[in-house]
């Protein structure tokens, strides 16, 4: 949750977009880069080739130009050599004429130097230096060549200057002399050649020391001085190569010039590499510009596409965040036909699935599957809310807690499917009985709860409880039998009985048990009951002490045979003579002892004491069958109980038939199976058994029939209600008949009046017990009562 906002605000879109952009940019840069490398490299190669070609062409042009110049010189020399007057002047050795002709023709042809040499190689006239006359011609090899082939040419230095020299013989018609024409190879010539070839043209001469001297050049003086060393550094022999001059690279080509002599005069033809590269630089620049523009478009396009992807993805992510926060209701609004659209559709389907599953989970978590009612968790939640609301609004809330008084018996004897059916039935009835605003929940087992809020004041709660009780009044039909399912309802109110949901639930629980104990149907929580409960805790300690300290005593109530008024036996009833409180009634500590798991100890004490008393009476000549009460819990440990009983009987030497153990019908129903086997064992021992408080436990006939019991004791509630309600009388009567039909003796408890006794007699009841005859009394008092009765009622005045 903590990272959700950041995730939303710094969504994956940027990173996805960035990644896409980076990927494509990298791709394009890579491809374009490779392309650029290839282009630049091939550009360089092409440029170099172009330069080489330009140089080659330039060289051809250059050589052609040189050739043309040479031809011009030759023509000029030939012209002068063919001049008749000139030849005549030579023939007559007219030096003055010769010189003037030479000057004249030299000027006409633009030659810088005209020389006449004799056939034997001696200078006879020179337009530049008269002092040369009489000396050998500078280039004798040219004379030889001219004689042999009619003309000869060379480029050579004369007095430190470079000249193109042409020599032709003077024919008259056989050679009579040689004419040499020369013009200086200077910067002007280099420039002229440079303009025509488009190259930088230099003329260099290598001396014997390997030094290169620049004779003429189109290069600026600064560069010119660098050319020589650069050539020397390049080895001087390289025909083609790159030379750096003034920081600029020059593609250079050396062109050898015709020199018959040893001097190496060469033309250096150069082209700046930059010049050749210039168009390629433009192409490269355009290439990069296009690449950059393409990249920009790519980035923009990729971002647009990425946004097209990431915007709906972000919407999905937002939707996912909403889901994370629990909002499943809003669908993602992405209407697209592509994969993202499908994803959104799937996402929406998923949302629907989550919504329905969550509803199901909620239902499972908060609903009781059996009845469809809210379960305990939901009830507690709602109760807590209601309490909060009531607290905030000064309102009321009420908790009604109830369970079925005899549900366990139904469940155990009829099986769970029947029990479940009963529960469903109960749920349906109570739901129908309630107004609808209340929350009805099944807390578990047969325990139900109702939340009343609003309207949860005492009056409303009681009204609701009454409606519930009324709804449950009618018996349920189970397997063709009508079974009573009376409920006990405990009511707890807010404010008053608790400040929060748990305390209210506990209070309702206390009230419910109070209602059960009181058999009052419903009970409002009574803080005093709670106090009593706390007292019970101290009571437990006291009770333990009481058993050991002999504070418990047995009181005996006689059981009278209705037919003859004889005292058939006694029922031993435990009393607690508390040193402080006085006599504590069993209702106040037996139930408690049962809950506290201490009842077994009390039961044993009772049995032991009852058997002992029976033995004492027997020894005193009183044959009194003595009854002792055992609880449901005692039956659960049936073996131990049987052994204990046997031990007591043997110790007191009391016949087993003299002991009768009474067990309440409801206790039997608590654990019918254990009860059945325990009772069977007791009968084997010879102990007689009796079902106490019959009519309250919802036992079925089928069940009773299986039990090894000797006697039914009709609950006092029916007996004492006979006079008021004819129905009770009917129950008593049918019970008596039932017992008899099953071969059981029937005892009516709580007989207080003659009328009751008379009715019971008419019904054929076997025995009666009650204040009508005697209260429970201590052994001594009983003995006294018995003696008095025997004395009084010799004729047996029980009747009437």
């Amino acid at each position: 949750m903590a990272r959700a906002p950041r995730d939303r605000n710094n969504p994956g879109m940027a990173s996805l977009g960035t990644r896409l952009v980076l990927f494509f940019v990298a791709l394009v840069v890579l491809v374009q880069g490779i392309g650029a490398i290839l282009v630049i490299r091939s550009n360089g190669e092409v440029a170099r080739e172009a330069t080489d070609q330009a140089l080659e062409q330039g060289e051809r042009v250059f050589q052609r130009l040189l050739e043309q110049d040479r031809r011009r010189l030759e023509q000029s020399a030939s012209l002068v050599s063919a001049d008749y007057a000139f030849r005549q002047a030579i023939g007559t050795n007219d030096i003055g004429t010769i010189e003037s002709v030479l000057r004249n023709h030299g000027a006409r042809a633009g030659a810088d130097l005209m020389t006449l040499a004799s056939l034997d190689g001696v200078v006879r006239a020179d337009t530049m230096e008269v002092s040369r006359v009489g000396h050998p011609f500078r280039f004798p090899e040219l004379l030889d060549a001219a004689r042999d082939s009619g003309k000869a040419s060379s480029i050579a230095t004369v007095d430190g200057r470079l000249y193109q020299v042409v020599v032709v013989p003077v024919l008259a018609p056989e050679p009579i002399a040689y004419v040499s024409a020369a013009f200086e190879v200077n910067d002007a010539l280099a420039r002229a050649f440079g303009q025509l070839t488009g190259l930088a043209v230099s003329f260099v001469e290598a001396d014997r020391g390997g030094q290169w001297r620049v004779e003429a050049s189109t290069l600026e003086p600064g560069l010119r001085s660098q050319l020589g060393p650069a050539l020397a550094a390049a080895g001087g022999t390289a025909r083609v190569g790159e030379i750096g001059l003034g920081g600029e690279a020059y593609e250079t080509r050396l062109s050898t010039l015709a020199t018959p002599g040893p001097s190496r005069v060469m033309a250096v033809l150069q082209r700046p590499v930059a010049e050749a590269l210039a168009p390629f630089r433009r192409i490269t620049a355009t290439y990069f510009a296009l690449t950059l523009a393409g990249l920009a478009l790519l980035v923009a396009g990729t971002l647009v596409i990425a946004r097209g992807i990431t915007r709906p993805v972000r919407r999905l992510a937002d939707a996912a965040s909403r889901v994370q926060e629990g909002d499943y209701r809003r669908h993602v609004d992405v209407q697209r036909a592509d994969e993202i659209g499908q994803l959104a559709e799937s996402f929406n389907h998923m949302l629907d699935g989550i919504v329905s599953r969550e509803a199901q989970i909620l239902r499972l978590a908060y609903e009781d599957p059996l009845t469809g009612l809210p379960n305990r968790a939901m009830f507690q939640e709602q109760l807590a809310k209601a309490v909060d609301a009531a607290r905030a609004e000064d309102g009321h809330a009420a908790v009604l807690l109830f369970d079925m008084d005899r549900f366990k018996a139904i469940n155990d004897t009829m099986g769970h499917p029947v029990g479940d059916q009963v529960l469903r039935d109960v749920a349906a009835r109570v739901r129908a009985a309630l107004a609808g605003r209340e929350t009805l929940a099944r807390l578990g087992g047969d325990e139900f709860a109702v939340l009343l809020a609003p309207g949860g004041d005492e009056r409303g709660a009681r009204a609701a409880a009454s409606r519930i009780l009324a709804a449950l009044e009618a018996p349920v039909a189970v397997e063709g039998q009508a079974m009573d399912i009376a409920a006990s309802i405990g009511i707890a109110l807010f404010p008053g009985h608790g400040d929060d949901a748990p305390s209210l639930m506990r209070a309702a629980d206390v009230a419910m048990y109070a209602a059960k104990r009181a058999k009052s149907g419903l009970a409002l929580y009574d803080p005093r009951a709670d106090e009593r409960r706390r007292e019970h805790l101290t009571l437990l300690g006291e009770l333990k002490r009481a058993v050991e300290a002999g504070e418990l005593v047995l009181h005996y109530q006689p059981k009278i045979s209705i037919a003859d008024g004889a005292v058939e036996g006694v029922e031993a009833l435990v009393r607690w003579r508390h040193p402080v409180r006085g006599s504590v009634p069993p209702a106040e500590f037996i139930g408690f002892a049962e809950q506290a798991g201490y009842i077994g100890r009390i039961t044993r004490w009772v049995i032991e004491e009852a058997v002992a008393q029976c033995g004492r009476w027997q020894r005193a000549g009183l044959e009194l069958r003595t009854s002792a009460n055992i609880s449901a819990r005692d039956l659960r440990h049936g073996d131990g109980l049987v052994d204990f009983v046997r031990g007591c009987l043997e110790r007191e030497q009391v016949p087993a038939g003299m002991l009768r153990l009474e067990i309440t019908e409801s206790a039997l129903m608590d654990d019918p199976k254990s009860a059945q086997s325990a009772l069977a064992r007791l009968r084997e021992l010879g102990v007689t058994t009796s079902i106490d408080d019959y009519g309250t436990g919802y036992s079925s006939l089928a069940y009773i029939k299986q039990l090894a019991v000797n006697e039914l004791k009709i609950d006092r509630a029916f007996v004492s209600g006979m006079e008021a309600d004819q129905r009770n009388a009917a129950i008593v009567r049918s019970t008596i008949e039932l017992g008899h039909n099953l071969g059981l003796a029937v005892v009516a408890e709580g007989v207080e009046t003659d009328h009751e006794l008379g009715q019971l007699r008419r019904f054929g009841c076997d025995f009666a017990q009650g204040y009508h005859f005697a209260r429970p009394m201590e052994a001594a008092a009983f003995e006294a009562w018995l003696l008095r009765r025997r004395a009084e009622a010799v004729p047996g005045s029980v009747g009437a």
Partner: protein
């Protein structure tokens, strides 16, 4: 071989009585017959008083000097008749005889007297390729080799001579031979001469001059 031939020739010459003739075979360095070589005999007794022909003719035919080589005795007047339908301008700047006969056609406007011994190179100022040679010798006894390299000096009085050989394209001068002529005699020369390189001569029908 040639020396052997020479010695035989010497013997034969010695045998001639009064008027004899001298046959000379001229070859080049490779042994091939050499044409246009000139042989002339100088009497050992000094310049001869005998006089040969006092005139000669060098024609211009088809823009060539004919003959190519001419030998004349000193003092001979040479005419240069022009047989071509075009003009020629014959000249020579040679020290032995410098002259020119300006544009003319037909009969030679004048005769040139070669009064000094030596080589005279003839040219035409109009036609550069035209070349001709005149060897002026101070003896009447001379001959020019034909295409077989054979030269014959006839009516040579018996006696002792210095026999000279010359060729216009010789690379070096040839040493003269001392011979005694009696009756018919013969001799031989080997001259290292450059081959005659024909100069370019435009065809007539193309150049209407």
């Amino acid at each position: 071989m040639s020396r052997f031939a020479l010695s035989i020739a010497g013997v034969l010459a010695a045998l001639s009585v009064h008027a004899a003739s001298l046959d000379v075979q001229v070859r080049d360095a490779s042994g091939a017959p050499l044409a246009d070589a000139v042989v002339y005999a100088m009497p050992a007794s000094g310049p001869s008083e005998a006089r040969g022909a006092r005139s000669a003719e060098i024609e211009q035919i088809d823009r060539e000097f004919v003959p190519y080589v001419t030998v004349v005795q000193t003092g001979t007047a040479v005419a240069f008749p022009n047989r071509d339908p075009i003009l020629h301008h014959v000249y020579s700047f040679s020290p032995a005889k410098s002259f020119e006969i300006k544009l003319y056609s037909g009969k030679s406007p004048r005769e040139i007297v070669f009064d000094k011994p030596g080589v005279v190179t003839l040219g035409c100022n109009i036609h550069d390729w035209m070349v001709g040679f005149v060897l002026v010798v101070s003896t009447p006894y001379f001959a020019r080799s034909d295409s077989t390299g054979h030269a014959r000096i006839a009516e040579l009085p018996a006696g002792r001579y210095e026999l000279h050989a010359w060729h216009p394209r010789e690379r070096s001068s040839v040493a003269p031979q001392s011979i005694a002529v009696e009756g018919a005699a013969s001799s031989a020369f080997v001259i290292d001469a450059a081959p005659r390189r024909p100069r370019y001569k435009p065809p007539l029908d193309r150049l209407k001059y």
